[in-house]
Protein backbone atom coordinates (compact mmCIF):
# COMPACT_ATOMS: atom_id res chain seq x y z
CA UNK A 1 0.00 0.00 0.00
CA UNK A 2 2.73 2.55 0.85
CA UNK A 3 4.34 1.57 -2.45
CA UNK A 4 1.08 2.18 -4.30
CA UNK A 5 0.63 5.59 -2.67
CA UNK A 6 4.21 6.50 -3.49
CA UNK A 7 3.72 5.70 -7.19
CA UNK A 8 0.42 7.56 -7.13
CA UNK A 9 2.04 10.72 -5.75
CA UNK A 10 4.93 10.80 -8.17
CA UNK A 11 2.64 9.83 -11.05
CA UNK A 12 0.34 12.74 -10.30
CA UNK A 13 3.30 15.11 -9.97
CA UNK A 14 4.83 14.13 -13.34
CA UNK A 15 1.36 13.90 -14.85
CA UNK A 16 0.47 17.45 -13.88
CA UNK A 17 3.47 18.78 -15.82
CA UNK A 18 2.36 16.77 -18.86
CA UNK A 19 -1.14 18.12 -18.27
CA UNK A 20 0.12 21.71 -18.32
CA UNK A 21 2.04 21.12 -21.57
CA UNK A 22 -1.00 19.38 -23.07
CA UNK A 23 -3.17 22.29 -21.96
CA UNK A 24 -0.80 24.68 -23.78
CA UNK A 25 -1.05 22.55 -26.94
CA UNK A 26 -4.83 22.59 -26.70
CA UNK A 27 -5.19 26.35 -26.24
CA UNK A 28 -3.09 27.20 -29.27
CA UNK A 29 -4.63 24.40 -31.35
CA UNK A 30 -8.15 25.59 -30.56
CA UNK A 31 -7.40 29.14 -31.63
CA UNK A 32 -5.34 28.41 -34.72
CA UNK A 33 -5.14 24.67 -35.65
CA UNK A 34 -1.39 24.93 -35.01
CA UNK A 35 0.32 22.12 -33.10
CA UNK A 36 3.03 24.08 -31.31
CA UNK A 37 5.99 21.75 -30.87
CA UNK A 38 7.87 24.57 -29.11
CA UNK A 39 5.48 24.17 -26.17
CA UNK A 40 8.07 22.30 -24.08
CA UNK A 41 10.49 25.20 -24.52
CA UNK A 42 8.23 27.42 -22.39
CA UNK A 43 8.70 24.97 -19.52
CA UNK A 44 12.45 25.06 -20.10
CA UNK A 45 12.46 28.89 -20.17
CA UNK A 46 10.50 29.01 -16.92
CA UNK A 47 13.04 26.85 -15.10
CA UNK A 48 16.22 28.19 -16.72
CA UNK A 49 15.46 31.91 -16.34
CA UNK A 50 14.42 31.40 -12.70
CA UNK A 51 17.63 29.50 -11.96
CA UNK A 52 19.94 32.08 -13.53
CA UNK A 53 18.06 34.99 -11.95
CA UNK A 54 18.25 33.32 -8.54
CA UNK A 55 21.98 32.64 -8.93
CA UNK A 56 22.43 36.32 -9.86
CA UNK A 57 21.09 37.17 -6.39
CA UNK A 58 17.54 38.07 -7.33
CA UNK A 59 14.97 36.84 -4.77
CA UNK A 60 13.00 33.79 -5.88
CA UNK A 61 9.54 35.39 -6.29
CA UNK A 62 10.95 38.15 -8.51
CA UNK A 63 13.08 35.63 -10.40
CA UNK A 64 9.99 33.53 -11.06
CA UNK A 65 8.06 36.58 -12.22
CA UNK A 66 10.92 37.49 -14.53
CA UNK A 67 10.87 33.96 -16.00
CA UNK A 68 7.14 34.27 -16.57
CA UNK A 69 7.61 37.59 -18.39
CA UNK A 70 10.44 36.19 -20.54
CA UNK A 71 8.33 33.19 -21.52
CA UNK A 72 5.38 35.41 -22.43
CA UNK A 73 7.62 37.68 -24.53
CA UNK A 74 8.97 34.60 -26.31
CA UNK A 75 5.40 33.39 -26.83
CA UNK A 76 4.39 36.70 -28.37
CA UNK A 77 7.52 36.70 -30.50
CA UNK A 78 6.82 33.15 -31.68
CA UNK A 79 3.33 34.15 -32.71
CA UNK A 80 4.23 37.47 -34.35
CA UNK A 81 7.48 36.49 -36.08
CA UNK A 82 6.99 32.85 -36.99
CA UNK A 83 3.31 31.86 -36.99
CA UNK A 84 1.57 35.02 -38.22
CA UNK A 85 3.80 35.53 -41.30
CA UNK A 86 2.94 31.98 -42.36
CA UNK A 87 -0.80 32.58 -42.09
CA UNK A 88 -2.77 30.35 -44.40
CA UNK A 89 0.01 27.77 -44.78
CA UNK A 90 -0.92 24.09 -44.42
CA UNK A 91 -0.94 22.59 -40.90
CA UNK A 92 2.13 20.45 -41.63
CA UNK A 93 4.08 23.53 -42.77
CA UNK A 94 3.12 25.28 -39.52
CA UNK A 95 4.24 22.23 -37.52
CA UNK A 96 7.66 22.37 -39.18
CA UNK A 97 7.85 26.08 -38.30
CA UNK A 98 7.20 25.32 -34.63
CA UNK A 99 9.79 22.53 -34.74
CA UNK A 100 12.22 25.07 -36.20
CA UNK A 101 11.29 27.49 -33.43
CA UNK A 102 11.91 24.78 -30.83
CA UNK A 103 15.39 24.06 -32.25
CA UNK A 104 16.06 27.82 -32.40
CA UNK A 105 14.97 28.42 -28.78
CA UNK A 106 17.04 25.47 -27.54
CA UNK A 107 20.02 26.91 -29.42
CA UNK A 108 19.48 30.31 -27.84
CA UNK A 109 19.18 28.77 -24.36
CA UNK A 110 22.40 26.81 -24.85
CA UNK A 111 24.24 30.02 -25.80
CA UNK A 112 22.64 32.50 -23.37
CA UNK A 113 22.70 30.05 -20.45
CA UNK A 114 24.65 26.81 -20.75
CA UNK A 115 24.19 23.09 -21.36
CA UNK A 116 24.34 21.93 -17.73
CA UNK A 117 21.56 20.66 -15.51
CA UNK A 118 20.29 23.17 -12.96
CA UNK A 119 18.03 23.31 -9.98
CA UNK A 120 17.18 25.71 -7.17
CA UNK A 121 16.00 25.04 -3.60
CA UNK A 122 12.36 23.95 -3.14
CA UNK A 123 9.96 26.71 -2.13
CA UNK A 124 8.80 25.17 1.17
CA UNK A 125 11.74 23.19 2.51
CA UNK A 126 12.84 19.64 1.90
CA UNK A 127 11.23 17.77 4.81
CA UNK A 128 9.02 15.10 3.24
CA UNK A 129 5.41 14.83 4.36
CA UNK A 130 4.40 11.30 5.43
CA UNK A 131 1.02 10.00 4.30
CA UNK A 132 -0.01 6.37 4.89
CA UNK A 133 3.57 5.10 4.89
CA UNK A 134 4.45 6.98 1.69
CA UNK A 135 6.27 10.28 1.52
CA UNK A 136 5.58 13.31 -0.59
CA UNK A 137 7.84 16.32 -1.03
CA UNK A 138 6.34 19.71 -0.15
CA UNK A 139 7.38 20.83 -3.63
CA UNK A 140 5.25 18.07 -5.18
CA UNK A 141 2.27 19.37 -3.25
CA UNK A 142 3.05 22.84 -4.63
CA UNK A 143 3.21 21.45 -8.18
CA UNK A 144 -0.16 19.73 -7.76
CA UNK A 145 -1.72 22.80 -6.15
CA UNK A 146 -0.28 25.04 -8.88
CA UNK A 147 -1.68 22.81 -11.61
CA UNK A 148 -5.07 22.77 -9.95
CA UNK A 149 -4.98 26.57 -9.60
CA UNK A 150 -4.13 26.98 -13.29
CA UNK A 151 -6.94 24.66 -14.36
CA UNK A 152 -9.44 26.51 -12.15
CA UNK A 153 -8.20 29.92 -13.33
CA UNK A 154 -8.41 28.82 -16.96
CA UNK A 155 -11.93 27.52 -16.42
CA UNK A 156 -12.88 30.86 -14.84
CA UNK A 157 -11.37 32.79 -17.75
CA UNK A 158 -13.19 30.62 -20.29
CA UNK A 159 -16.57 30.84 -18.66
CA UNK A 160 -16.55 34.24 -16.92
CA UNK A 161 -14.61 36.70 -19.06
CA UNK A 162 -15.32 38.17 -22.47
CA UNK A 163 -11.89 37.17 -23.78
CA UNK A 164 -12.41 33.60 -22.58
CA UNK A 165 -15.82 33.36 -24.22
CA UNK A 166 -14.32 34.73 -27.42
CA UNK A 167 -11.68 31.96 -27.19
CA UNK A 168 -14.36 29.30 -26.81
CA UNK A 169 -16.27 30.78 -29.73
CA UNK A 170 -13.14 30.87 -31.90
CA UNK A 171 -12.42 27.25 -31.05
CA UNK A 172 -15.87 26.07 -31.97
CA UNK A 173 -16.26 27.96 -35.26
CA UNK A 174 -13.71 30.47 -36.50
CA UNK A 175 -15.79 31.96 -39.30
CA UNK A 176 -18.89 32.37 -37.14
CA UNK A 177 -16.75 33.95 -34.40
CA UNK A 178 -15.40 36.47 -36.90
CA UNK A 179 -18.92 37.21 -38.14
CA UNK A 180 -20.09 38.20 -34.66
CA UNK A 181 -17.17 40.61 -34.38
CA UNK A 182 -14.54 38.58 -32.54
CA UNK A 183 -11.01 39.50 -33.53
CA UNK A 184 -9.83 35.91 -34.06
CA UNK A 185 -6.28 37.00 -34.88
CA UNK A 186 -6.03 38.65 -31.47
CA UNK A 187 -7.46 35.49 -29.88
CA UNK A 188 -4.59 33.50 -31.40
CA UNK A 189 -2.19 35.98 -29.78
CA UNK A 190 -3.94 35.60 -26.42
CA UNK A 191 -3.74 31.81 -26.69
CA UNK A 192 0.02 32.01 -27.30
CA UNK A 193 0.41 34.27 -24.24
CA UNK A 194 -1.65 31.93 -22.05
CA UNK A 195 0.17 28.83 -23.30
CA UNK A 196 3.55 30.43 -22.68
CA UNK A 197 2.52 31.46 -19.18
CA UNK A 198 1.12 28.02 -18.33
CA UNK A 199 4.27 26.29 -19.58
CA UNK A 200 6.56 28.69 -17.73
CA UNK A 201 4.67 28.28 -14.43
CA UNK A 202 4.98 24.52 -14.83
CA UNK A 203 8.72 24.89 -15.37
CA UNK A 204 9.17 27.23 -12.41
CA UNK A 205 7.32 24.86 -10.07
CA UNK A 206 8.81 21.57 -11.16
CA UNK A 207 12.50 22.47 -11.61
CA UNK A 208 13.42 21.95 -7.91
CA UNK A 209 12.28 18.32 -8.30
CA UNK A 210 13.16 17.32 -11.86
CA UNK A 211 16.05 19.72 -12.66
CA UNK A 212 16.15 21.53 -15.98
CA UNK A 213 18.52 22.14 -18.87
CA UNK A 214 18.31 23.65 -22.35
CA UNK A 215 17.10 20.35 -23.80
CA UNK A 216 14.18 19.31 -21.52
CA UNK A 217 11.52 20.75 -23.84
CA UNK A 218 11.71 18.04 -26.52
CA UNK A 219 10.61 15.17 -24.31
CA UNK A 220 7.96 17.30 -22.61
CA UNK A 221 6.50 18.34 -25.97
CA UNK A 222 6.38 14.70 -27.02
CA UNK A 223 4.63 13.56 -23.83
CA UNK A 224 2.36 16.60 -23.74
CA UNK A 225 1.32 16.03 -27.36
CA UNK A 226 0.61 12.36 -26.64
CA UNK A 227 -1.40 13.38 -23.56
CA UNK A 228 -3.42 15.95 -25.51
CA UNK A 229 -4.23 13.37 -28.19
CA UNK A 230 -5.14 10.77 -25.57
CA UNK A 231 -7.60 13.22 -24.05
CA UNK A 232 -8.96 14.26 -27.42
CA UNK A 233 -7.43 17.15 -29.34
CA UNK A 234 -8.97 20.54 -28.66
CA UNK A 235 -10.52 19.45 -25.38
CA UNK A 236 -8.94 21.27 -22.37
CA UNK A 237 -10.43 18.89 -19.79
CA UNK A 238 -9.28 15.94 -21.89
CA UNK A 239 -5.77 17.40 -22.00
CA UNK A 240 -5.57 17.51 -18.20
CA UNK A 241 -6.93 13.97 -17.82
CA UNK A 242 -4.62 12.77 -20.61
CA UNK A 243 -1.59 14.33 -18.90
CA UNK A 244 -2.40 12.78 -15.54
CA UNK A 245 -3.07 9.37 -17.12
CA UNK A 246 0.24 9.40 -19.01
CA UNK A 247 2.10 10.40 -15.82
CA UNK A 248 0.41 7.69 -13.75
CA UNK A 249 0.96 5.01 -16.43
CA UNK A 250 4.63 5.90 -16.51
CA UNK A 251 5.25 5.68 -12.77
CA UNK A 252 3.06 2.61 -12.18
CA UNK A 253 4.57 0.96 -15.25
CA UNK A 254 8.07 1.73 -14.03
CA UNK A 255 7.23 0.59 -10.49
CA UNK A 256 5.32 -2.61 -11.14
CA UNK A 257 6.39 -3.79 -14.59
CA UNK A 258 9.72 -2.52 -15.91
CA UNK A 259 11.49 0.78 -15.49
CA UNK A 260 13.30 0.51 -18.82
CA UNK A 261 9.97 0.10 -20.63
CA UNK A 262 8.04 2.78 -18.73
CA UNK A 263 7.47 4.93 -21.82
CA UNK A 264 6.45 1.82 -23.74
CA UNK A 265 3.61 1.16 -21.32
CA UNK A 266 2.27 4.70 -21.68
CA UNK A 267 2.40 4.55 -25.47
CA UNK A 268 0.92 1.04 -25.64
CA UNK A 269 -2.07 2.27 -23.65
CA UNK A 270 -2.37 5.36 -25.88
CA UNK A 271 -2.31 3.15 -29.00
CA UNK A 272 -4.87 0.83 -27.43
CA UNK A 273 -7.19 3.71 -26.53
CA UNK A 274 -6.91 5.26 -30.00
CA UNK A 275 -7.72 1.94 -31.69
CA UNK A 276 -10.94 1.75 -29.70
CA UNK A 277 -11.67 5.50 -29.55
CA UNK A 278 -10.08 7.12 -32.62
CA UNK A 279 -10.90 10.63 -31.34
CA UNK A 280 -9.28 10.19 -27.93
CA UNK A 281 -11.12 9.90 -24.63
CA UNK A 282 -13.20 13.08 -24.88
CA UNK A 283 -12.89 14.17 -28.52
CA UNK A 284 -15.77 14.40 -30.95
CA UNK A 285 -15.86 12.63 -34.27
CA UNK A 286 -15.14 15.01 -37.13
CA UNK A 287 -17.30 15.01 -40.22
CA UNK A 288 -15.63 15.43 -43.59
CA UNK A 289 -17.57 17.58 -46.03
CA UNK A 290 -17.09 16.77 -49.68
Amino acid sequence: MPEFLQFLFSGLMIGSIYALVALGFTLIYNASDVINFAQGEFVMIGGMVTFFAVSAGIPLPIAALLALVVAIVVGIGLHRLAIEPAKGASPVTLIIITIGASIFLRGIAAVVFDKNFHSYPPFAGVDPIRIGGATILPQSVIVLAGTLAIVVALWAIMSRTMVGKAMVATASNRLAARLVGINTAAIVGVSFILSAAIGAIGGILVTPITLTNYDVGTLLALKGFAAAMLGGMGHPFGAVVGGLVVGLLETFGAGYISSSYKDAIAFLVILGVLFVMPQGLFGRAGIERV
Binding site: I35, A82, P85, A86, A89, S90, P91, V92, T93, L94, I95, I96, I97, I99, G100, A101, S102, I103, F104, L105, R106, G107, I108, A110, V111, T218, L222, F225, A226, M229, L230, M233, S260, Y261, D263, A264, F267, L268, I270, L271, L274, F275, P278, Q279, G280, G286, E288, V290
Partner: protein, 313 residues
Protein backbone atom coordinates in the same frame (compact mmCIF):
# COMPACT_ATOMS: atom_id res chain seq x y z
CA UNK B 1 4.25 13.19 -73.78
CA UNK B 2 4.74 16.24 -71.59
CA UNK B 3 3.68 14.17 -68.60
CA UNK B 4 6.21 11.52 -69.59
CA UNK B 5 9.03 14.05 -69.61
CA UNK B 6 7.95 15.66 -66.39
CA UNK B 7 7.95 12.28 -64.62
CA UNK B 8 10.98 10.62 -66.11
CA UNK B 9 12.89 13.84 -66.65
CA UNK B 10 13.34 14.13 -62.89
CA UNK B 11 14.66 10.56 -62.64
CA UNK B 12 16.99 11.23 -65.57
CA UNK B 13 18.24 14.42 -63.91
CA UNK B 14 18.96 12.52 -60.70
CA UNK B 15 20.75 9.78 -62.64
CA UNK B 16 22.88 12.34 -64.49
CA UNK B 17 23.79 14.08 -61.27
CA UNK B 18 24.78 10.79 -59.62
CA UNK B 19 26.91 9.88 -62.65
CA UNK B 20 28.62 13.26 -63.06
CA UNK B 21 29.21 14.45 -59.48
CA UNK B 22 32.24 12.19 -58.80
CA UNK B 23 34.00 13.74 -61.80
CA UNK B 24 33.57 17.23 -60.35
CA UNK B 25 35.31 16.40 -57.11
CA UNK B 26 37.80 13.86 -55.89
CA UNK B 27 37.36 14.74 -52.24
CA UNK B 28 36.21 11.62 -50.42
CA UNK B 29 34.58 13.92 -47.85
CA UNK B 30 32.22 15.36 -50.49
CA UNK B 31 31.47 11.88 -51.76
CA UNK B 32 30.73 10.77 -48.21
CA UNK B 33 28.29 13.64 -47.68
CA UNK B 34 26.71 12.91 -51.08
CA UNK B 35 26.29 9.25 -50.13
CA UNK B 36 24.58 10.32 -46.89
CA UNK B 37 22.28 12.60 -48.88
CA UNK B 38 21.37 9.71 -51.21
CA UNK B 39 20.70 7.38 -48.29
CA UNK B 40 18.42 9.86 -46.50
CA UNK B 41 16.77 10.70 -49.83
CA UNK B 42 15.68 7.08 -50.18
CA UNK B 43 13.95 7.19 -46.79
CA UNK B 44 12.38 10.60 -47.43
CA UNK B 45 11.21 9.51 -50.89
CA UNK B 46 9.32 6.66 -49.25
CA UNK B 47 7.87 8.93 -46.60
CA UNK B 48 6.84 11.38 -49.31
CA UNK B 49 4.84 8.63 -51.03
CA UNK B 50 2.91 8.27 -47.78
CA UNK B 51 2.68 11.95 -46.79
CA UNK B 52 2.76 13.81 -50.08
CA UNK B 53 0.65 11.46 -52.17
CA UNK B 54 -1.55 9.51 -49.76
CA UNK B 55 -1.72 12.45 -47.34
CA UNK B 56 -1.00 10.32 -44.25
CA UNK B 57 1.42 11.61 -41.60
CA UNK B 58 3.99 9.41 -39.92
CA UNK B 59 6.09 10.56 -36.98
CA UNK B 60 7.52 7.07 -36.51
CA UNK B 61 9.40 6.25 -39.69
CA UNK B 62 12.73 6.17 -37.91
CA UNK B 63 11.39 2.96 -36.35
CA UNK B 64 11.42 1.27 -39.77
CA UNK B 65 14.75 2.93 -40.56
CA UNK B 66 16.06 1.40 -37.33
CA UNK B 67 14.72 -2.05 -38.20
CA UNK B 68 16.74 -1.99 -41.42
CA UNK B 69 19.82 -0.73 -39.60
CA UNK B 70 19.63 -3.27 -36.78
CA UNK B 71 18.85 -6.11 -39.19
CA UNK B 72 22.28 -5.80 -40.84
CA UNK B 73 23.89 -5.47 -37.40
CA UNK B 74 22.12 -8.18 -35.38
CA UNK B 75 21.49 -10.91 -37.98
CA UNK B 76 25.12 -11.31 -39.16
CA UNK B 77 26.58 -10.94 -35.65
CA UNK B 78 24.26 -13.25 -33.72
CA UNK B 79 22.76 -15.56 -36.35
CA UNK B 80 25.59 -15.74 -38.89
CA UNK B 81 23.38 -14.55 -41.75
CA UNK B 82 25.24 -12.91 -44.67
CA UNK B 83 24.83 -9.12 -44.70
CA UNK B 84 23.04 -8.92 -48.05
CA UNK B 85 20.49 -11.48 -46.88
CA UNK B 86 20.08 -9.59 -43.58
CA UNK B 87 19.41 -6.43 -45.55
CA UNK B 88 16.65 -8.12 -47.53
CA UNK B 89 15.30 -9.69 -44.33
CA UNK B 90 15.30 -6.28 -42.59
CA UNK B 91 13.36 -4.66 -45.43
CA UNK B 92 10.93 -7.60 -45.41
CA UNK B 93 10.43 -7.43 -41.64
CA UNK B 94 9.78 -3.67 -41.79
CA UNK B 95 7.28 -4.20 -44.60
CA UNK B 96 5.57 -7.01 -42.71
CA UNK B 97 5.38 -4.96 -39.51
CA UNK B 98 3.93 -2.03 -41.45
CA UNK B 99 1.41 -4.41 -43.01
CA UNK B 100 0.32 -5.78 -39.64
CA UNK B 101 0.02 -2.51 -37.73
CA UNK B 102 -0.95 -0.44 -40.77
CA UNK B 103 -4.56 -1.62 -40.81
CA UNK B 104 -5.53 -0.42 -37.32
CA UNK B 105 -3.20 2.59 -37.28
CA UNK B 106 -4.27 4.02 -40.66
CA UNK B 107 -7.89 4.18 -39.52
CA UNK B 108 -6.78 7.16 -37.43
CA UNK B 109 -6.76 10.59 -38.99
CA UNK B 110 -4.55 13.67 -38.87
CA UNK B 111 -2.97 14.36 -35.51
CA UNK B 112 -4.27 11.09 -34.04
CA UNK B 113 -2.40 9.21 -36.75
CA UNK B 114 0.65 11.35 -35.95
CA UNK B 115 0.59 10.40 -32.28
CA UNK B 116 -0.04 6.70 -33.02
CA UNK B 117 2.90 6.49 -35.43
CA UNK B 118 4.96 8.46 -32.92
CA UNK B 119 4.15 5.85 -30.28
CA UNK B 120 4.98 3.04 -32.70
CA UNK B 121 8.38 4.57 -33.49
CA UNK B 122 9.18 5.06 -29.83
CA UNK B 123 8.21 1.47 -29.00
CA UNK B 124 10.55 0.17 -31.71
CA UNK B 125 13.40 2.42 -30.55
CA UNK B 126 12.83 1.28 -26.98
CA UNK B 127 13.26 -2.37 -27.93
CA UNK B 128 16.64 -1.51 -29.50
CA UNK B 129 17.70 0.37 -26.36
CA UNK B 130 16.59 -2.25 -23.87
CA UNK B 131 17.36 -5.60 -25.51
CA UNK B 132 21.05 -5.06 -24.83
CA UNK B 133 21.89 -8.76 -25.14
CA UNK B 134 21.16 -8.58 -28.87
CA UNK B 135 21.60 -4.91 -29.73
CA UNK B 136 24.33 -3.64 -27.40
CA UNK B 137 21.85 -1.38 -25.63
CA UNK B 138 22.24 2.40 -25.54
CA UNK B 139 25.87 2.18 -26.78
CA UNK B 140 24.81 0.45 -29.97
CA UNK B 141 26.86 -2.16 -31.80
CA UNK B 142 29.32 -2.56 -34.64
CA UNK B 143 28.01 -3.55 -38.07
CA UNK B 144 30.01 -6.05 -40.13
CA UNK B 145 30.90 -4.93 -43.67
CA UNK B 146 28.70 -5.87 -46.57
CA UNK B 147 30.29 -8.72 -48.52
CA UNK B 148 28.87 -9.75 -51.89
CA UNK B 149 30.52 -12.79 -53.54
CA UNK B 150 33.77 -12.15 -51.71
CA UNK B 151 33.81 -8.42 -52.55
CA UNK B 152 33.83 -6.14 -49.51
CA UNK B 153 31.87 -2.89 -49.76
CA UNK B 154 33.70 -0.19 -47.83
CA UNK B 155 34.67 3.44 -48.23
CA UNK B 156 32.91 6.55 -49.42
CA UNK B 157 33.35 5.94 -53.16
CA UNK B 158 31.82 2.47 -53.05
CA UNK B 159 28.89 3.61 -50.96
CA UNK B 160 28.43 6.66 -53.16
CA UNK B 161 27.76 4.39 -56.10
CA UNK B 162 25.65 1.84 -54.20
CA UNK B 163 23.40 4.49 -52.63
CA UNK B 164 23.30 6.64 -55.79
CA UNK B 165 22.18 3.78 -58.03
CA UNK B 166 19.64 2.64 -55.43
CA UNK B 167 18.25 6.17 -55.21
CA UNK B 168 17.75 6.32 -58.97
CA UNK B 169 15.95 2.97 -58.89
CA UNK B 170 13.87 4.07 -55.90
CA UNK B 171 12.89 7.28 -57.70
CA UNK B 172 12.03 5.29 -60.84
CA UNK B 173 9.79 2.99 -58.83
CA UNK B 174 8.15 5.97 -57.14
CA UNK B 175 7.47 7.72 -60.46
CA UNK B 176 5.99 4.55 -61.92
CA UNK B 177 3.78 4.14 -58.88
CA UNK B 178 2.58 7.75 -59.00
CA UNK B 179 1.62 7.43 -62.67
CA UNK B 180 -0.20 4.14 -62.10
CA UNK B 181 -3.84 3.66 -61.09
CA UNK B 182 -2.55 3.14 -57.54
CA UNK B 183 -0.95 6.58 -57.64
CA UNK B 184 -4.16 8.15 -58.86
CA UNK B 185 -6.09 6.42 -56.08
CA UNK B 186 -3.58 7.71 -53.50
CA UNK B 187 -3.92 11.28 -54.73
CA UNK B 188 -7.69 10.96 -54.65
CA UNK B 189 -7.47 9.83 -51.02
CA UNK B 190 -5.26 12.82 -50.28
CA UNK B 191 -7.89 15.17 -51.69
CA UNK B 192 -10.82 13.59 -49.92
CA UNK B 193 -11.14 10.20 -48.26
CA UNK B 194 -14.90 10.30 -48.26
CA UNK B 195 -15.13 11.24 -51.94
CA UNK B 196 -12.66 8.46 -52.82
CA UNK B 197 -14.70 5.92 -50.92
CA UNK B 198 -17.84 7.04 -52.71
CA UNK B 199 -16.01 6.53 -56.02
CA UNK B 200 -15.36 2.94 -55.00
CA UNK B 201 -11.70 3.25 -54.06
CA UNK B 202 -10.65 0.79 -51.36
CA UNK B 203 -9.21 3.55 -49.16
CA UNK B 204 -7.81 1.28 -46.44
CA UNK B 205 -6.02 -0.92 -48.99
CA UNK B 206 -4.32 1.94 -50.85
CA UNK B 207 -3.24 3.69 -47.65
CA UNK B 208 -1.78 0.37 -46.52
CA UNK B 209 0.14 0.00 -49.80
CA UNK B 210 1.71 3.44 -49.35
CA UNK B 211 2.51 2.73 -45.69
CA UNK B 212 4.16 -0.65 -46.38
CA UNK B 213 6.13 0.72 -49.32
CA UNK B 214 7.36 3.74 -47.34
CA UNK B 215 8.37 1.46 -44.45
CA UNK B 216 10.43 -0.67 -46.85
CA UNK B 217 12.13 2.41 -48.34
CA UNK B 218 13.00 3.55 -44.82
CA UNK B 219 14.35 0.13 -43.80
CA UNK B 220 16.49 -0.04 -46.94
CA UNK B 221 17.96 3.38 -46.20
CA UNK B 222 18.55 2.42 -42.56
CA UNK B 223 20.41 -0.74 -43.57
CA UNK B 224 22.60 1.27 -45.98
CA UNK B 225 23.43 3.87 -43.33
CA UNK B 226 24.39 1.17 -40.81
CA UNK B 227 26.56 -0.68 -43.35
CA UNK B 228 28.18 2.59 -44.45
CA UNK B 229 28.87 3.83 -40.91
CA UNK B 230 29.81 0.43 -39.53
CA UNK B 231 27.95 1.34 -36.36
CA UNK B 232 24.38 1.52 -35.21
CA UNK B 233 22.89 3.12 -32.07
CA UNK B 234 19.30 3.46 -30.81
CA UNK B 235 19.38 7.13 -31.92
CA UNK B 236 19.16 5.71 -35.48
CA UNK B 237 15.57 4.78 -34.69
CA UNK B 238 14.89 7.70 -32.35
CA UNK B 239 12.08 10.21 -32.30
CA UNK B 240 14.36 13.03 -33.48
CA UNK B 241 15.26 11.04 -36.58
CA UNK B 242 11.55 10.63 -37.39
CA UNK B 243 11.05 14.36 -37.01
CA UNK B 244 14.07 14.93 -39.24
CA UNK B 245 12.56 12.77 -42.01
CA UNK B 246 9.26 14.63 -41.85
CA UNK B 247 11.08 17.97 -41.88
CA UNK B 248 13.12 16.91 -44.91
CA UNK B 249 9.97 15.86 -46.77
CA UNK B 250 8.05 19.04 -45.96
CA UNK B 251 10.98 21.40 -46.46
CA UNK B 252 11.81 19.91 -49.87
CA UNK B 253 8.18 19.73 -50.88
CA UNK B 254 5.44 17.19 -50.23
CA UNK B 255 4.40 15.33 -53.33
CA UNK B 256 7.63 16.10 -55.13
CA UNK B 257 10.25 13.46 -55.97
CA UNK B 258 12.95 16.08 -56.44
CA UNK B 259 11.75 17.81 -53.28
CA UNK B 260 12.54 14.72 -51.21
CA UNK B 261 16.13 14.85 -52.40
CA UNK B 262 16.45 18.62 -51.98
CA UNK B 263 15.04 18.38 -48.45
CA UNK B 264 17.36 15.52 -47.53
CA UNK B 265 20.33 17.35 -49.06
CA UNK B 266 19.57 20.60 -47.25
CA UNK B 267 19.23 19.02 -43.81
CA UNK B 268 22.28 16.80 -44.34
CA UNK B 269 24.60 19.45 -45.77
CA UNK B 270 23.45 22.38 -43.59
CA UNK B 271 24.58 20.91 -40.25
CA UNK B 272 27.97 20.11 -41.86
CA UNK B 273 28.29 23.71 -43.06
CA UNK B 274 26.89 25.23 -39.88
CA UNK B 275 29.50 23.54 -37.68
CA UNK B 276 31.67 26.60 -38.46
CA UNK B 277 29.22 28.55 -36.28
CA UNK B 278 29.96 26.19 -33.37
CA UNK B 279 27.52 27.07 -30.59
CA UNK B 280 25.26 29.01 -32.94
CA UNK B 281 24.62 25.96 -35.12
CA UNK B 282 21.16 25.19 -33.77
CA UNK B 283 20.08 28.81 -33.77
CA UNK B 284 20.97 29.04 -37.45
CA UNK B 285 19.31 25.72 -38.32
CA UNK B 286 16.07 26.64 -36.54
CA UNK B 287 16.03 30.06 -38.15
CA UNK B 288 16.62 28.64 -41.63
CA UNK B 289 13.76 26.16 -41.16
CA UNK B 290 11.38 28.94 -40.09
CA UNK B 291 12.36 31.34 -42.87
CA UNK B 292 12.17 28.67 -45.60
CA UNK B 293 8.75 27.53 -44.44
CA UNK B 294 7.41 31.09 -44.26
CA UNK B 295 8.58 32.11 -47.71
CA UNK B 296 8.39 28.76 -49.50
CA UNK B 297 5.42 27.32 -47.65
CA UNK B 298 4.63 24.69 -50.24
CA UNK B 299 8.14 23.31 -49.86
CA UNK B 300 11.28 24.40 -51.72
CA UNK B 301 10.82 22.56 -55.03
CA UNK B 302 7.06 23.07 -55.61
CA UNK B 303 7.23 26.74 -54.52
CA UNK B 304 10.18 27.55 -56.77
CA UNK B 305 8.68 25.63 -59.71
CA UNK B 306 5.43 27.60 -59.54
CA UNK B 307 7.42 30.81 -59.13
CA UNK B 308 9.37 30.19 -62.35
CA UNK B 309 6.28 29.08 -64.25
CA UNK B 310 4.50 32.32 -63.41
CA UNK B 311 7.43 34.68 -63.96
CA UNK B 312 7.49 35.03 -67.80
CA UNK B 313 3.86 36.21 -68.13
Amino acid sequence: MAGFWRSYGVVAAIAIFVAVFPYLTDSSYYLRVAALVFIFSIAVLGLNLLMGFAGQVSLGHAGFFGIGAYAVAVAPTHFGLPSWLSLIAGVAVAGLLAFVIGRPILKLKGHYLAVATLGMGILIAMVFTNEARLTGGPDGMAVPRLVVFGWVARGSVTWYWISGVTLVLAALLAVNLIDSPTGRALRAIHDSETASRVLGIDVARYKLIAFVLSAMYAAMAGAYLALFDGLVTPATAGFLRSIEFVTMAVLGGLGSILGSIVGAALLTVLPQVLTVFHDYEHIALGLIMIVFMIFLRGGIVPSLTSLFRREPS
